[in-house]
Symmetry: C2
Subunit: 254 residues, 2 copies
Amino acid sequence: MTGSLTIVGLGPGAADQVTGAASQALAVATDIVGYGPYVDRVPERAGQQRHRTDNREEIDRARHALEMAAEGRHVAVVSSGDPGVFAMAAAVFEAVETGEAAWRALDISVVPGISAMFAAASRLGAPLGHDFCAISLSDNLKPWDLVLKRLRAAAEGDFVIALYNAASKARPRHLGEALELLRGIKGPDVPVIFATAISRADEAIEITTLGEADAARADMRTLVMIGSSATRLVARPGARPFVYTPRRVDGQVP
Amino acid sequence: MTGSLTIVGLGPGAADQVTGAASQALAVATDIVGYGPYVDRVPERAGQQRHRTDNREEIDRARHALEMAAEGRHVAVVSSGDPGVFAMAAAVFEAVETGEAAWRALDISVVPGISAMFAAASRLGAPLGHDFCAISLSDNLKPWDLVLKRLRAAAEGDFVIALYNAASKARPRHLGEALELLRGIKGPDVPVIFATAISRADEAIEITTLGEADAARADMRTLVMIGSSATRLVARPGARPFVYTPRRVDGQVP
C-alpha cells in the first residue's frame, strides 16, 4: 500500500482564493492534518479523518502526518496562505530529514497557495509592485538579533517589507521595536499598512505612515507592510486610496 | 453603464493552479487584455473580446484597459503568476495616477495568483521556508546600480533570494554579475536553483551551488533562487533532493 503526503495551501481564508489543485488534493485525502481553524476550512467529506492540532506543535504534527503516509494513508497537511511561507512545508521537510530513512522515499508534494502578503496587496493596489522582502517577526525559532539585522538590511536596500507574525501576546514589544528601527532608516513618511483578516468577513485595512504607525493596531491575524521610498498613494473619491509601488525607479541610487 | 477593471493572476501556467476567484473574473469579463501568450491561457468564451499585446507595452495596455472600463466594459487584464509581483498591477495603478481623473472612480480590483517563486518552491520542497526577498534583475525601469545595491543588502541580511527577470537576450551579462556579487558575500556552497517553465510540460529544475552556477542555464522563463546560509538539501533515493530552509536558526547572528 503506497501512501502520500501533500502539503496544501488554503490561501488567506475565502473559499474562492483556493486553487483547483488544492481543492483536488483535499478531495482525495484520507486524512486532513493541521491547526484546528485551518482544518475547519476544509469542506467535510464522508470517510475522511480530521486531525486538529494546536498551533505550536508543528514538528509533531509533521511527524504524525509522515507516519500515516508511511502506513499507506493519503494525508493532506493544511496551511493557511502558502505552505512554504512561514508555514508547514519547512516543518515537514525538517521532519523528513531528521526522521526515519523510509520517509525520504514517500510521495511528498506541495500545493502552493495565495500567501497573506499577496492577498493583502491585492486589496490595496500593487504595494509589492517592486522588489520586496518577507520577514517573520517571531523569535520562537530564531534570535531576535537576526530579525533586527534583516530588518536593517531590508531597509537599507529600500525594499518593500512584509512582516509576518507581526504581533502576538507573547511578544508585545517586538513590532514596536521593528517599526522604530525602520523609521530610523526609512524616515517617517513611508506608507505603512495594517492588513487584518484579509478576505474574511471581519477584514480590516489601515493605511498610515511610519511616523504615525501604532504597533498596537496589529493582532495575530495582521500582515504589516512597510513601503519603499517609492511607494505611493493614489487618492480616490469616496474610497480608500490605492497603494502601489511603481515599476520605474529614476535617477540615482538612494 | 458602469464598467469594471479586474487585474487577474493566472498562476504559473497549469490550469489547476488558478484560483476560483480568477476563473470567475475571467468568466464574466467582456474583454481580456494582456501579453499574447497569457491571453491564450484564458478559456475561450463566446462574445468575449481578446486584446493580445506585445510584452513591452505595459503602460499602453493598462491605459487601453482603463479606457474600455470607462466606456462600461468589464475588462480583465491578465498576468502570469501574481499580477502584483513584477507584473501588470503596478502598471495599471501608474496609469490611473497619471491618467484621466474619472479613472480613479472606476471599479478596479486585483485577483491574486500563485507567483513563480511559490510555484518553483513547491516543486523543490520549502526553500522559502524562512525570511526571503524577491528582486527583479531587469534594468529597463531601474538603474542597474540599484539592483546591485539590493542584491548586496539581501546577501548581507542572509535572506533567501528569488530573482525574477533573471535572464533576457537584451541583458546577457546581468545574471552572471549578480551571481558573482552574491558568491563574494555568501560563499560558494549555498544552494542555487534554476527553475524553468514551472508547472508546464517543459518544466526543468536544476539544483547547483553558487560556486558552480552557470548563468547561461537561465532563459526568460527561469526563476533563479539562491539559498540562505541555512538552506539544505535532503537526499532521496532515485529522485531529486528536497530543498528547504529550516524555520529554526540557532546560535549567533552570522
